[in-house]
Symmetry: C2
Subunit: 338 residues, 2 copies
């Protein structure tokens, strides 16, 4: 899912987004709740109509942004109080408020509000936040009324395997239409993420979608798929694209580098995206001269790359050759720490 | 002609540019000569291939940028010495150098290097610059060797009617494939521009293209057409678009204004551009949240608006109703001083 924080995937028109292969996008409840506000979006016909996107939209709950962007988040059992990053005003958000916003936005998939803690945290802190998240998830489910909106729960529990499994079991007991794995890709080493997926995914129902939140690098998505994850969201293709990093099947390219100055090759020979109509030399020129078209074209290329990678993964699964494909990709998609 | 200063019309892909109705674009010799440099563009196959634009390209001579962007421009009969706006290095550019750069870029239409003076200037200053520009134009013609590149001269002469006519006559005597009217739309009142066109255009050959440089507002283009101008270039549709101003048949709209916050109408009902798939409320949201998509969509809309206006003007000319059309447009396209 490309990330469309403020009702737009940054710099990309609707038709470019469709052409990149996007089947579903993510919108941010925190941002949209602040601007233009849930009432305005609802009056304008909901988020789909507002941004002219007919395909599915998933909205997050705002939890991640409250604990990362907003200031002074203070959690009680009732909800979370935080300072708007826009004007410093104090905002109180209960799990029910998050669902109310998401219902007004009219997304196809809503996420429960959860309580995030920084990694690493003492196990008691992780445990308390986890138990509160489960109680909040239950309140979200009880509050939600839209029959055309699926509600996904979020498995938390930090890097503690027992806590993760226990959280998953309690959420399944409540019953949701999908299950997300949250609180990963927040700075921990990649092998820690894999370890938590190895213990969490077997605890999740096989007949419900699994969503790994905020992940990640191309290889991380494939490692997630190997463990049964179905859905991902990440700003990496677009944010890195804006910063002159292009993903390719042979590893990432940094387009500002001098080595591309006379390179007539496209980013990828077989890529159908509009960036690949141009030479690497031209794309570098756009970044060196700080032209908007550079970030635009690389964002489109990177989204196209991610969508094509997911398409290949689906084909490999259908052909029964995913394990070999993953091994091959582990060596080809060179590590990128950007 | 949309302005593609640095081998890109800011924020717009090639297919969006084609869809907006662009038949020809302008590239800037000054900028491209500095970055990526004429040798690099030539090695990469010329400007068309570099920016992946197969339709015609006109390149200016660099004169306007030297006298506006660069520092400390010093003119001698030989040429002009100026300070690069990028790194402060001193650059010497003769008329022959400008043609050499434009030949390396491989544009379809090259412009002669001219000597610009600020308006208002004493008539002696304007006269001297004008006579030097004519001598430089002759040197450009003698130097130019590409048979696949047309060379246009530039009529200067400030706001002095006699000087304009005399300049036109001397340039026609040398003989060029097209004639531009330069040094207008640099801050003088619109009626001054019209006065100069009224005296200059009748002095130009009827069988050669006439190009009014750097103009302008929609109504200015129509006033130019009424006086026999065939070609225009201006940053106004794209620069104003980036600054939240949308041109419409009923006058300009400033999209940041609160009055658009709940407006479900598109910018123009009958416009086929991608911005007009959205509501004014959504476009305002993009500008209020400083999203890249706002400048992108409004640039595309404004280019589409200009190209559609030119298309309408052509139809009116063919139908013999241009005079009535112009009268009507004078009242509809409300004055915009942005």
């Amino acid at each position: 899912m490309p990330v469309g924080t403020q009702a737009t995937v940054k710099g990309i028109t609707k038709s470019q987004l469709v052409d990149s292969g996007a089947q579903i996008i993510l919108g941010n409840t925190y941002h949209l709740g602040l601007r233009p506000g849930k009432e305005r979006v609802a009056e304008l016909g909901g988020l789909h109509r507002f941004m002219n996107w007919e395909r599915p939209i998933l909205t997050d709950s705002g939890g991640f942004q409250i604990f990362s962007l907003a200031g002074l988040a203070k959690v009680t059992e009732e909800g979370v109080t935080f300072k708007s990053h826009l004007d410093g005003s104090m905002i109180h958000l209960r799990p029910e408020d998050s669902i109310a916003i998401q219902q007004a936005l009219g997304s196809d998939i809503a996420m429960v509000l959860d309580h995030l803690v920084a990694l690493p945290s003492p196990v008691e802190v992780a445990q308390e936040a986890c138990q509160r998240s489960i109680r909040w998830a239950k309140r979200c489910k009880e509050f939600a009324t839209r029959t055309d909106q699926a509600l996904f729960a979020i498995v938390q529990g930090g890097l503690d395997e027992k806590l993760r499994v226990s959280c998953a079991e309690q959420l399944i007991e409540i019953g949701f239409e999908g299950y997300a794995v949250g609180g990963l890709s927040v700075g921990e080493p990649p092998q820690e993420m894999v370890r938590i997926l190895d213990c969490t995914c077997p605890a999740l129902p096989v007949d419900k979608p699994r969503y790994l939140m905020g992940v990640g690098r191309p290889i991380d998505l494939l490692e997630g798929i190997a463990r049964g994850v179905d859905m991902f969201d990440c700003v990496m293709p677009t944010r890195n694209g804006r910063n002159a990093l292009a993903f390719t099947a042979n590893g990432p390219l940094r387009l500002r580098n001098l080595c591309h100055a006379d390179d007539t090759r496209p980013l990828e020979d077989d890529c159908p995206c509009p960036a690949c109509l141009h030479s690497r030399a031209y794309l570098r020129h756009l970044f060196i001269t700080q032209e908007m078209l550079g970030p635009i074209l690389l964002s489109i290329h990177n989204l196209t790359f991610y969508h094509r990678l997911m398409e290949k993964a689906r084909q490999q699964i259908e052909q029964g050759t995913f394990a070999e494909f993953l091994d091959q990709q582990r060596s080809m998609l060179q590590s990128d720490d950007s």
